[in-house]
């Protein structure tokens, strides 16, 4: 452990979040809640085919329609070098998945917009779709992109493999020779949608000078600004983006679908344009995560030391390159100290929506495979699954499979905490199966800015740019309260638009509490420095002769002066006389995000007549570095567990032979409802991250990683055999039971 536990006053408490009242009373404004006078409604035309060449589009009827103000296709986007994002937003020569957008209209009402969309005639040459990684890798597979060459290497023939990834260390053949037990399996993990409850929505208003104002729900207003600028080749300074409250993102709102379309429609119409996706559009055309095939081979000696590991993985990217195959490969063996391994991964194009980030992108798939294989290894060794992991666990100084040496990490602490946890010590009842797995995520730092504005009564406003998804305003206020030494209640956090706060990367990669938190702490320190300067001035001392203690400026010990400590509130009140308002600011490109590990276990039962799996108990132990607001750390742990359970048991994309998604609704794309899961028990472990003033690690993504294998391992225990393919839906479980008997 890096340091002895410090006493905190604010950090580690659980106050009510500043944005709570607005949200529970329904007053908070989400993406679809914004309106402007004279606003039009935008609607998109989507492809009825999964793969087709667009021979012609006839817009004449739509353009002539009363109440229609603008109609666009990709021809109305800049012609040169369109990015994949641009081609995804409005298709060019080919439509690449069922639901791919290829035209849009803006009209006075939604029904006129719909009519106009229906009047557009498109001539298609229907092509054979490629609907799985297996099909895409087949010898004579149709090509999703005829010009795609693996890794951009012109010496290769075009194929559906966009990229390959390779990592290795040591000598795997020798490693496997030393193994007494070997497990070798293939696992299939389906595509899952992020399942955010709020669909994508925006309003765009372009004025006569071409300046665009955009209001939208997003994980990152500055990224939206960049994307609009790239897609439409507009100057950054001509775009202002205001983020609304956000009803979930989980990675799915790190990219854009409607915003550039709305801007272009507004530009041509001369009126504001609102676009709101419906749920069906969200399922058909926004990024789910990759369906993945993983082959894993792991060997261990009699003592349970893993001697070699090998993995091959194919990640579906959807219609454009860019699956998270790289982080998938980097994470698969991350919890283990391995001397010999080989990892190969492929980024594979298929005629399905372009994948987007989903919580710990790539890791749930690859680690499901590894954690399932390690479970089988523990069975062969007749060893407790936590003990086996402890024997091989990565720790401070271990060389991560993806290169660097780990600084202080909390895997071993989590495993030890799990081993003695009452929920683990209590053995499951008869017919109840328990499964264990570990989770991991890298976390990222990146850029954040923060400003602190102090009102004359000592109240503090934090201005920052990270959309608040999981309670980050509360965490910012807590860190500011701790740093400044003032009450939490006197602080408010505001999330600015792209013209009212400094640049800030998106809320993602579990970075916000770490990186924006770091900027807030630094900005508070900037205010403190100013407070000390003002106090020094008042006392006629040098600034170096003043200290800051629990919200008071005090003369440094040894400084010979009779002075009453000056409180933050007093300094604020007198600021007008001592040099003007107190403000502080900071910007960071935060380094050392600090990896986050977890251990999960779950107890399940299986109804052998219907194949239904019931999760009876679930416990998550996770290293938070330092839990700033423990309830919101637990919220992340619980939410991730539920999403992982849903992915393991019921969530999947069901396509027909033509590549049409059959379950584009929450009725048939089954995320768990509250009554489907037990209370997720949480234990937060704190191994402080040396790169953050309070020890924070990101906690948002790791929680979804372990539940897949934990659930699969538990089902394996009940059934007595393993179902290698997810989801373990009732029909699949019943079929497996039938085959087994």
């Amino acid at each position: 452990m890096a340091e002895a536990v410090r006493e905190f006053t604010a950090i580690g408490t659980r106050p009510i979040r500043p944005d709570g009242v607005e949200k529970v009373t329904g007053k908070a404004n989400f993406g679809a809640d914004f309106s402007l006078p004279g606003m039009l409604y935008g609607k998109v035309l989507r492809s009825p085919y999964a793969h087709a060449r667009v021979k012609g589009i006839d817009l004449s009827e739509a353009k002539a329609m009363e109440g229609v103000f603008s109609v666009i296709t990709s021809a109305d986007f800049p012609k040169e070098n369109p990015s994949d994002m641009s081609c995804n937003i409005l298709a060019r020569e080919k439509v690449l998945y069922h639901g791919h957008a290829l035209a849009a209209v803006a009209a006075r009402s939604q029904s006129i917009a719909e009519e106009a969309i229906n009047s557009i005639k498109v001539e298609y040459e229907v092509l054979q779709p490629v609907l799985s990684a297996d099909a895409a890798l087949a010898e004579d597979a149709p090509l999703v992109d005829e010009n795609l060459r693996t890794n951009g290497d012109e010496s290769f023939m075009p194929s559906n493999v966009a990229a390959t990834v390779h990592y290795e260390r040591g000598d795997v053949d020798k490693g496997f020779e030393k193994a007494d037990y070997i497990v070798e399996e293939e696992y299939r993990i389906p595509s899952a949608h992020q399942g955010y409850i709020e669909p994508h929505a925006c309003v765009a208003d372009v004025n006569e000078k071409g300046r665009a104002s955009v209001w939208c729900c997003t994980q990152g207003a500055f990224e939206v600004r960049n994307y609009i600028s790239e897609v439409l080749q507009k100057k950054i300074s001509d775009i202002k983006v205001t983020p609304s409250e956000i009803g979930g993102g989980f990675g799915g709102k790190t990219v854009v679908y409607v915003e550039p379309v709305a801007v272009r429609l507004s530009e041509l119409a001369g009126r504001p344009v609102k676009m709101v996706m419906n749920r069906e559009e969200v399922f058909r055309a926004t990024g789910p995560c990759s369906a993945t095939v993983c082959r894993v081979k792991v060997g261990a000696n009699k003592d349970g030391i893993i001697t070699a590991a090998k993995a091959w993985m194919a990640y579906e990217a959807g219609a454009f390159p860019g699956s998270p195959v790289t982080p998938g490969c980097m994470s698969i063996f991350a919890p283990y100290d391995l001397k010999n391994f080989v990892i190969d991964g492929l980024d594979v194009l298929v005629n399905k929506p372009k994948v987007a980030a989903y919580r710990a992108p790539g890791a749930p798939q690859s680690m499901h495979a590894m954690e399932s294989a390690v479970d089988e290894l523990a069975r062969k060794l007749n060893m407790d699954p936590i003990d086996l992991r402890l024997k091989n666990a990565a720790d401070e100084g271990t060389e991560a499979p993806y290169g660097p040496k780990y600084p202080a990490i909390g895997l071993v602490e989590c495993l030890k905490a799990a081993k003695v946890h009452p929920n683990y010590v209590n053995k499951p009842a008869k017919d109840v199966g328990r499964g264990v797995a570990v989770g991991f995520w890298f976390n990222i730092g990146m850029q954040s800015s923060a400003e602190i504005w102090v009102a004359p009564n000592g109240a503090v406003t934090i201005m920052e740019g990270s959309p608040d998804i999981g309670g980050s305003r509360a965490s910012m206020c807590l860190m500011a309260a701790e740093t400044l030494g003032i009450p939490y209640d006197s602080i408010n956090a505001v999330i600015g638009d792209t013209e009212s706060t400094g640049f800030c990367n998106l809320t993602g990669g579990s970075r916000t509490t770490f990186a924006t938190g770091l900027a807030v702490v630094r900005a508070c320190e900037d205010v403190i420095a100013e407070c000390k300067r003002r106090a020094a001035m008042t006392w006629d001392l040098d600034t170096e002769q003043v200290d800051w203690e629990n919200g008071f400026a005090v003369p440094r010990p040894g400084v010979n002066i009779e002075a009453e400590p000056l409180s933050f509130a007093e300094l604020a009140k007198t600021a007008g006389r001592t040099g003007g308002p107190l403000v502080g600011r900071a910007s960071v490109n935060a380094q050392g995000a600090g990896a986050c590990f977890s251990v999960n276990w779950t107890d399940v039962t299986v109804d052998r007549d219907t194949g239904k799996v019931d999760v009876q108990a679930f416990t998550a132990v996770q290293d938070a570095g330092r839990a700033i607001h423990p309830s919101y750390v637990e919220g992340q742990m619980q939410g991730g567990a539920v999403q992982g359970i849903g992915w393991a048991l019921n969530e999947e994309y069901i396509y027909d032979d033509n590549g049409v998604l059959e379950n584009a609704s929450f009725l048939d794309y089954r995320i768990p409802v509250a009554s489907d899961v037990p209370m997720i028990d949480c234990q937060i472990v704190e191994v402080p991250n040396p790169s953050h003033p309070y020890g924070v690690r990101g906690v948002g993504e790791t929680p979804i990683v372990a539940p897949l294998a934990a659930t699969a391992n538990a089902v394996r225990e009940v059934l007595g055999f393993r179902i290698n393919d997810l989801p373990m839906s009732p029909p699949r479980v019943l079929e497996a039971l039938d085959n087994a008997s």
């Binding site: 069901i654 409802v673 029909p731 079929e735």
Partner: protein, 294 residues
């Protein structure tokens, strides 16, 4: 959302008039009860303009009466309200449970048995339970009222035997014989907010020697319409509803089923599980009698 007009007649006669007027003008009219199917459909796939005829304000559709030989349940009563009626619950626990399965608390503030039946989905949860209880549909039209056994009401996926100028007033259920109980079970992959992959309702009467004298079995989501499975009932009558006879009833349900494979389940799965649910519902109904619940 489709364009629509809205009327809320206060009487059966006014409703018939309205339906008739729309029909002669060649306009579409649609009855609105709780709207938990109608409104969802209007917002998604069924965008045709129409006049909504809200029947929630007609006394006849909101009345429950429990007589010596039969029970009348108004078509538009929300399942949440029905489930507060303890008398109904004790007479037809399975039917009331089936209504209690619909949606969530919020949905149950609106969703009616009449709407569930008239929506005529193969998966409507109350329909197999109504079949098990030998319910009759009381239908009003220009020529007065008529009675149709519930198993003959639904004619196909989303279609039923009513003409465009008819509507459902309520359901008439025979008063259960002594030592009669019912039960309904459905299978969904979740615990709520889902649509039945398979459903089965069973009503049993046992004499004092525990021998089954009457039985009715209804199944759902395994054929284009919910089905009455006479052979399943026959397998139970004359037995003590023990494992063997319940298994025979289960097999009869499997034989009667003609399921499809879709995103919600396969043919093999549905066929298998409809037997499982018939068996389990049979056990619940039997044990309700043996444990003296009436």
């Amino acid at each position: 959302m489709s364009r629509f007009g809205y009327v809320a007649p206060k009487s059966v006669a006014d409703t018939i008039h309205l339906l008739h007027d729309c029909e002669t003008r060649g306009e579409r009219a649609q009855i609105l009860a709780g709207g938990t199917d109608v409104i969802v459909q209007m917002r998604t796939f069924d965008r045709e303009p129409r006049t909504l005829v809200d029947v929630k304000y007609i006394e006849e559709l909101n009345r429950v009466s429990i007589e010596d030989n039969e029970t009348y349940i108004g078509a538009a009563i929300p399942s949440g309200v029905l489930n507060e009626n303890q008398k109904l619950k004790s007479l037809y626990p399975g039917l009331l449970e089936s209504a209690d399965l619909i949606g969530s608390t919020q949905i149950q503030g609106r969703a009616s048995i009449g709407g569930n039946l008239c929506n005529s989905s193969p998966a409507g949860d109350t329909i197999p339970a109504l079949i098990a209880n030998a319910a009759k549909c009381l239908i009003a039209g220009t020529h007065g009222t008529r009675n149709v056994p519930v198993e003959d009401f639904v004619t196909g996926v989303g279609t039923n035997c009513m003409t465009r100028t008819e509507f459902l007033l309520g359901l008439i259920l025979p008063r259960p014989r002594p030592r009669t109980q019912d039960a309904y079970l459905r299978f969904i992959p979740r615990t709520e907010m889902d649509i039945a992959v398979v459903g089965a309702g069973v009503s049993l009467t046992l004499d004092h020697d525990r021998v089954c004298t009457h039985a009715r079995v209804g199944i759902g989501a395994v054929a284009p319409t919910p089905l009455l499975v006479t052979k399943a009932a026959e397998a139970l009558i004359g037995t003590q509803c023990d494992e063997t006879s319940l298994q025979a009833a289960a097999d009869a349900c499997r034989a009667a089923a003609s399921p499809i494979t879709d995103k919600r389940g396969t043919v093999v799965y549905r066929r298998k599980v409809v037997g499982v649910l018939c068996y389990r519902a049979g056990v619940i109904a039997r044990d309700r009698i043996l444990n003296g619940q009436n």
